[in-house]
Symmetry: C2
Subunit: 273 residues, 2 copies
């Protein structure tokens, strides 16, 4: 099954557009995990097990693992998700971007080493920096388009070409939809902090899935996000929440607290579908 | 000493603008290394030891290590460079790019875990995706500006704003020079395949150092690169060569062959300074 097919099945099975982001910061872990060598794995696996029937995808952020020399725990975590919760795709949030011969190495990292189902990729270096990921026909490639951070506007919101006001992020969406997505593997990242721009991207890309970070801690509005981004069949979105779910609880019941917030978030999203 | 100061000292001491790129592909290693568990480290360390008096910097490409679960060998390699060849800065070529809280993790990865002196960063997500690296005052941050690959033109060569024809890569150069470089830590990547654009960037950024990939295997011209990019004191450039040096020889004398090509490349660069 391809990433896109897995995602569509998970949307249905769990009645959910919620992507649970796994950004494990040991300083925020419950005290009982502090002395475990595999604390990052243990924390994330408990979150995964508590939320797997509420999510359409899991999205581990590789930076949190790499900063702590915990690549082995990331491998174990993704293997755990595949084994215990088959059908829920794993997006490796790595935002890689390099020329072709190096991108091939990053594709090996994401898809062969970590066995992720999809990876996030930065489009700044253009089509040949994206192609090597598309050589894995079952995998998804999720390109940054309009990011949720304040500095996202520095480049992405510039008008480009003599194009009647087209912005750079719109050009990325158009290139992705019209030129680069020859194999149907591409999705886009569009931040929840800009609902009008989610709507613009949706108008450009048809039913292409959109990964939407920025609700919760970053302040994006769920209702506006869903209304702007849903497709005709009320799917098309992976709405990510990380910190609000991961750190909902502070003690041994953290996984139950995470489940509670995940359920509320899924249901809040579904209210507006 | 800061990265920029180390670089300036290495330019002088080794009379060299050559950056030796370390993109280790085990399939291309000499046969005698094939069965070593630490083949990647051993290969790169031999290259480093054979070229350290000819280079102004070493640039390991992290993708080649990550694809092979060889992060420990990358740590060992950078420690080896610092111990055996103090004063030659190490640029971690990682092209990271993410929002602030995640960029902090990538900065920990590059500067605290690997102890690199500088890291390459993708500017697509704007100023707050760059700031966390600048929190390490001795370190260098090298932003992608105009990359050497064919797809580099897809976005970087678009005209932006109502700006009289300013291209996206020129805007990146101007933002870097005029707004983001408050601490003097920023350099830029500009590909050797576009000498006219190296000259444009040099005109925008004054004496800011430029990392220039694309000579050798990618076809960039050394004379045109140096003429377009040198500063008034005939420095300002880190001209990278990877494959042409690493794979100059195929047997046990590979390091001597690499030294020979590195010396020829350094001298060819110096002809045009």
């Amino acid at each position: 099954m391809t990433f896109i097919q897995q995602l569509a099945a998970a949307w249905q099975k769990n009645n959910s557009l919620l992507c649970v982001g796994l950004d494990p910061d040991p300083a925020k872990f419950p005290v009982h995990l502090h002395n475990r060598d595999d604390a990052i794995f243990a924390f994330c696996a408990d979150i995964v097990d508590a939320t797997a029937d509420l999510a359409c995808a899991f999205k581990p952020q590789i930076a949190y693992f790499a900063a702590r020399r915990a690549e082995d725990q990331l491998e174990a975590l993704i293997a755990h998700i595949h084994e215990k919760h088959p059908g829920i795709p794993v997006i490796l949030d790595a935002k890689r971007g390099d020329i072709g011969s190096t991108a091939e190495q990053y594709a090996i990292e994401a898809f062969e080493r970590y066995k992720a189902d999809a990876v996030t990729v930065n489009p700044y270096m253009g089509h040949d920096s994206v192609d090597p990921y598309l050589a894995y026909p079952d995998k998804g490639v999720i390109l940054l388009c309009r990011t949720s951070n304040p500095g996202g506007s520095d480049l992405q919101f510039l008008e480009v070409g003599n194009s009647g006001g087209e912005k750079l992020y719109e050009r990325v969406a158009r290139l992705a939809a019209e030129k680069w997505n020859t194999t149907g593997q591409i999705s886009l990242v569009v931040g929840a902090t800009f609902p009008a721009e989610i709507a613009r991207v949706r108008a450009i890309v048809g039913d292409m899935p959109l990964l939407v970070p920025g609700i919760g801690a970053q302040g994006g509005d769920i209702a506006a996000t869903v209304e702007a981004g849903r497709t005709k069949n009320a799917t098309g979105l992976m709405i990510n929440s990380s910190r609000a779910i991961l750190y909902a609880g502070k003690d041994e019941s953290f996984a139950a607290a995470a489940r509670q917030v995940a359920q509320e978030t899924r249901d809040a999203i579904n209210l507006y579908r």
